[in-house]
Amino acid sequence: MTDNNRIDIGVLKLLFDAVTGSNQVETMANRLTQLLVGTLGIKGAAVYMVNPEFEALELLASSGLSINYINKGPVLVDKSIKLASNREPIVVSDVSKSNRLQYPENAKAEGIQSIVSTPISLHGVIIGALRLYDAAPWEVSEHDVEYLSVLAQNLGITMMYFRLANALLAVKDSVDAIHSVWLRPTY
């Protein structure tokens, strides 16, 4: 591992444990963002989900970011970081020299100098984004981007699991609500 690399297999294992070991999607995302901040020594991290109705990224969890920054306004999919509709990992090493941000002034006020955005996808469809924020310019290594992409892929699968589990619980609640009297034969 070179000096530029911040993520090693030990860090990745810890992050995977957080992703696979939680029984609630919000707990999982909160724990993941905390561990990213804690292990990488960065300013903040956030997990977003794509809301196709509004073509916006909806915050699921964050760590290290202020409430003002979180509530800065709708994060539009195509405008938040302007490159190929966020289909590829994007590294903004120095936000002061970039014209890609939707809210550059808010990033400056928050003390954010660099952003790494990795798409969370499932079956080729972008369903969210994993974003890391640092207070210093960050030349993210290709190695770290690869590791983050692997993490994001696993996040996509985990989110699908939570989606299905939630749907199943809703069905269970509906079935449980059926009184046994409706199940008796009427002949």
Binding site: L40, G41, M49, R163
Partner: protein
Amino acid sequence: MTRQKVLVPYNFTENDRKALDFVIHMFASRQDVAVTLFSAYTPAPEIETRNNTVMEKIRQNLTYLKQQISEQEDKIKAVRDALIENGFSRDRVSYLFSPIKKDISQDIVDLVQSEGFNVIVLNRTSGKISRFFTGHVFQKVVISVKDVVVLIVT
């Protein structure tokens, strides 16, 4: 005088602010109403004692994470103070700032039952994609509580 105990879960969103405005409008002048703000947070990761380089990295940054949580508590205190500034007497407003135990909706239900709240003020944002993954908090709370008035601000 019998006191009505009102629970207001608060997570610093725009709709939470609207719910707070509603609480001020409805209850500030009612001396028999006591309001409790409830904010839950994910606790900082536990540090294992075994020798582990990853844990050592986290240990170094743990102070930052704990500071973030502490700042969140300061913000919920500021919300409590806003209630006082808007007509509530100090003895009628309190806050609970605690780590998430199960999930937020279950924690609300448990709190209502253990502390005997009469009213819960929730809010709902329509069109949120996260409802597909987590379900609506208000929905889970409404079906789980009994003999409690649930007000939902949209």
